[in-house]
Symmetry: C2
Subunit: 105 residues, 2 copies
Amino acid sequence: MTDQPNNAHDEAFKELLSLRGSIDNLDACLVHLLAERFKLTQRVGHLKATNDLPPADKDRERRQAERLRALAKDSELDPEFAEKFLNFVIAEVIRHHEQISASQS
Amino acid sequence: MTDQPNNAHDEAFKELLSLRGSIDNLDACLVHLLAERFKLTQRVGHLKATNDLPPADKDRERRQAERLRALAKDSELDPEFAEKFLNFVIAEVIRHHEQISASQS
């Protein structure tokens, strides 16, 4: 038994474990950023519900999608995926806002 | 005409714009982190494809989901959403890995 890698397969497995460690670190960042983002959108939901502001803003969503596509291109992320991600998050935000409206009606 | 907010509705709109600015900043962070995450998983895909390592690891995915649910709970994010988010990202990773395998076969 030895701790030394004895072939290319072991080296690859060592690198795989190192990459997974970095992926886990990025995932922790992503979860914490999403948590903060939803705190902000919860506040937006309350503001809109109590101040007679329109619940959806298609123009704002279009601008967000364009901006994220541009940021994605700059950072070598697939712009299609960036827009899919935004839509995925917005769907959850809308679910929250509906809950806020329902609890106030 | 005045720049002063003249009622609660104007104050609410001002706060809405400020919250949107913060949401946009977080979205830029999210896109850049996702870009880095996909760079790492692309490397994982190449490593697996060239070193005869199994393409999927259900045990690893289960541990990732459990960990992200715990991190979500700690940061006041819905753990269900955190797991849905992980699955959303993993689906894209699998799509990339299939492309890598196809390009090498």
